[in-house]
Amino acid sequence: MEQAIEVRGLVREFKGGIHAVAGIDLDVAPGEIYGFLGPNGAGKSTTVHMLTTLLPPTAGTAKVGGHDIVAEGPAVRRTIGAALQEAALDPLLTGREHLKLQLALHGIPRAERDRRTDELLERVGLRLAADRKIGGYSGGMKRRLDLALALAHRPRILFLDEPTTGLDPQSRSALWDEVVRLKRDEGVTVFLTTQYLEEADVLADRVGIIDHGRIVAEGTPAALKAEIGRPTVEAVPTEETEPAKLEAIFGRFGELQPSTAGVAVRLDGKGGLADVVRALDSADVTVAALHLHAPTLDDVFLAKTGRSLEGEEEPSEPEPAPA
């Protein structure tokens, strides 16, 4: 079966020898939601710019919708929709004018343009704001319009570059619902970059983790977590609990982890939660609460790179557009 996106050895080098993308391989199946996860500056947006034909690669090949991104740029653009990192909108135009312009440039006939514009405005919840200038839209409204514009010509493949960055939880949730609906009802393939672990975990069928321009891990979120597969046990002490004693017991089951609530240990396979409870009981140590935390994608990132993704701050990627 032909892949919706097929990437082999893709490289993008910027001035000064900076390798924003340093040779990546990936495949995305039709109808799949692929989460591309990584910190700022990891190479996510540069990859999206190359796959959407906005930036030629320095080396490597990629096919999107069966079309080569270098040799068949116009065919790729007809196949895809994209909402890039910043909601690129004209503050002087209304939402409706944006959609009509987008549809017109995609060659949609006038009669269908009006119908499709109304349909998209309804779908993203902007019908009432359709004739207001974008300058008065909230961040969430701009993002929703951005998504509607990306979907205007019914693309088979959708690129979303950090679509929920800066959104409030309600807007984020609404956008997630729409992405899931697109996959479920329309079979749209979604390539989603994000720096939010939860987003990748909730939405993506498979996740690729990129760091310093290289993919360091790839698989379903469940498989990736199972691969490093060690849950964490966290104890909240009582006033009587002796911290040293608690740490000594926990230390027998794995590596101690930072914890704001008390003491935590990532289990190393020498025992499970029941063994920890028995050890505490036999040592007559009482705790206020005991929590079992399943591994997260952050644990995967930590295991693969030695760093935590949460709170990670790296320099931004070089500007993808040429100088």
Binding site: L54, L55, I80, L84, E86, L93, A104, L105, G107, A321
Partner: protein, 257 residues
């Protein structure tokens, strides 16, 4: 979608943007005429100079608003294009099947429409205050064609600056430069009556002088083939150079495959 339709849609957007920024159309409509009123009042005595080609300084000076108005709309258009680059809107357009040519011509199309409206306005005000177009109705049509060509020429350089720099500030900084060209020209006096040698040399070397003189000739002389030929040749030449350089810059700016 045909290239023509793409151009029409982008030109329409350009006009809408301009109309929704009142400062972008009120200033070019008012300021050049205000300056014309001030200069005409103060410099009417210049018409007494031996060899001055008309006894109406307003008629002599009417060419000025056409050029200054073109400068205003050019800078405004360049700023709009630079803003599209800064906001990423250009990338959004680049993700559609839009042809690069459509972007440039569509953008300039909006500028040209605004330039045409301005030209009609300047002409109407001129006629209302008693200026007579010596070249008649056909000359008026030629004047409007030349005005549109001048806007195209200047607009292409505004677009070039935007595409080269991607910066609204850089485009804004062009305005004083354009103004220097305008003021060191034959806008206030015929070149043969300018007595300061360096100024006369500079005005003679300045292409803006010939654009002014072509428009002026239609207003105060009638049909002056030499002035018109020079004016049209310069306007067309500048348009070709500006559009060619802008197209090349657009190709670099839109690095899409």
């Amino acid at each position: 979608m045909s290239l023509g339709s793409q151009i029409l849609h982008l030109a329409r957007r350009s006009v809408i943007r301009t109309l929704r920024q009142p400062a972008n159309w009120i200033t070019p409509l008012i300021f050049p005429l205000a300056l014309m009123a001030v200069n005409s009042g103060g410099l009417q005595a210049a018409t007494s100079l031996p060899g001055f080609p008309t006894d109406s300084f307003v008629a002599f000076f009417l060419a000025f608003p056409f050029i200054q108005g073109a400068l205003f709309s050019t800078v405004n258009a360049g700023v709009d294009l630079a803003r599209d680059i800064q906001t990423g809107f250009l990338n959004r357009l680049a993700l559609t099947p839009m042809q690069s040519t459509a972007l440039l011509v569509g953008h300039l199309g909006g500028v040209i429409v605004m330039g045409f409206v301005q030209a009609i306005w300047y002409l109407a005000v001129g006629l209302a205050i008693g200026v007579r177009i010596e070249a008649g109705v056909l000359g008026t049509v030629v004047l409007l064609v030349l005005a549109v060509l001048i806007v195209t020429a200047f607009g292409s350089f505004g677009a070039l600056a935007a595409l080269r720099t991607g910066s609204t500030e850089a485009v804004h900084s062009l305005f004083p430069v354009f103004f220097v060209f305008l003021f060191i020209s034959s806008m206030n006096l015929p070149r043969n009556l300018i007595e300061t040698d360096w100024f006369q040399v500079a005005a003679s070397a300045n292409p803006v002088s010939y654009l002014i003189e072509a428009i002026r000739s239609l207003v105060i002389q009638g049909w002056n083939e030499e002035a018109l030929a020079l004016g049209f040749a310069i306007a067309i030449g500048l348009s070709i150079v500006g559009l060619t350089l802008s197209s090349l810059s657009l190709r670099t700016r839109l690095a899409r495959t």
